[in-house]
Symmetry: C2
Subunit: 226 residues, 2 copies
């Protein structure tokens, strides 16, 4: 039996755990954490902690200053904008592909996903609906054999995920979002790239919002613009 990566290693578990803590804002942007602190807290040695730190710093979630300290990275609004551009550009291109080469079973998977969304919205289960939303987009990329590109988009979206949680009104208008998803789906099954792309663009600009208030409210969480 061959394992690609050891899912049970302490360093990997720590990595996933800390990543969740950071994205969920339980670890505040700008706050400092040390190898010793974490190793004592979770009863492991410094080595796996260090390896988790390194990986997180590579993904931009931690910033390591040698011999000084390790800090939870501040939220970088220019990065958020770049990620938004990256996502919109690629999603439009991929949904175009999807209109040409989507297999029947992938269409079915999308359809099922929409059914779930319908249910979650009826039950007002925001958290599940948010996950289903992510899954919907992921399915489109998978159907076009672009799984790694989705992974890249997802990784670059970390700062956006943090911002989303800072908002007071996290209540998206899920009904609108469902309609947008349906439009994308219709574009795909009717092989109408114009419709699909338009719906996708509309969908992705809808989640965009003004950040000036957030910066005013939590100035210590944001990276200064130069």
């Amino acid at each position: 039996m061959i394992f690609e990566t050891n899912k049970n290693s302490a360093s990997r578990k720590l990595y996933e755990l800390l990543k969740e803590e950071i994205i969920q804002l339980r670890l505040k942007p700008g706050s400092n954490i040390s190898e010793n602190e974490i190793s004592e807290k979770y009863n492991v040695s410094r080595t796996p902690v260090r390896e988790a730190f390194l990986r997180l710093s590579q993904e931009g979630l931690l910033t390591i200053y040698p011999q000084k300290g390790t800090f939870v990275s501040l939220i970088d609004l220019s990065l958020v904008e770049e990620a938004r551009f990256l996502r919109e550009t690629l999603e439009k291109a991929v949904v175009n592909l999807a209109c040409k080469e989507f297999s029947q079973e992938k269409v079915f998977a999308l359809e099922m996903n929409l059914k779930y969304q319908e249910m979650y919205i009826k039950n007002h289960d925001s958290e599940k609906q948010f996950q289903a939303d992510e899954q919907f987009h992921k399915l489109i990329f998978e159907g076009c054999d672009k799984t790694r590109i989705w992974k890249i988009i997802d990784e670059m979206n970390n700062d956006f995920k943090r911002i989303r949680l800072l908002r007071l009104a996290t209540n998206f208008n899920w009904d609108d979002i469902y309609i947008q998803h349906s439009n994308i789906f219709n574009g795909i099954i009717h092989k109408n790239p114009e419709l699909a792309e338009k719906a996708m663009k509309e969908h992705l600009t809808a989640v965009n919002f003004d950040k000036t208030e957030l910066v005013k409210k939590y100035p210590e969480y944001f990276k200064e613009v130069e």
Copy 2:
């Protein structure tokens, strides 16, 4: 004085060194290297070696099988195709942006780069010309404040870089490439997105080539398609 990352750390130097070795195919795809082997070779302890390994495995250049060994990753053609799609999609979108919002000094930087290309081609300096080519594209992304997106493209292009070296005829037709670059440049300064995008597409499909012969010649270097 604050250093973002320690450029002089052993682990970082090892990372860069090994990355170069892998991309330059001096470390063969599929061959195995161990932490001990490298630590003895470069007279450092296992810890920095291990950290370099971890980082390289994250970028897909190494594959670590716990308790079994670490191997130079095989070249993944499906990944190459995905990277090509990623690059073409984003470069077209960014060159469009460049036609709208390119500052005068950025235009100048591009122009200088073209002058250098002219020189390198005249001197038949393929290596320098290749670097200038990369720099040309990087400059476009920088001019549009999309530096991180370029970084992503560059990182995903590792397998393509390895393939490029496998080719018998590495002699590109640099004259054609220079013309394509000039066309892109002209599109930008004349604020003509159609021209720029067309030139970019032409340029990026030109570097594409048939890989079946390579797979036949070096089957042990390639990952099997499933």
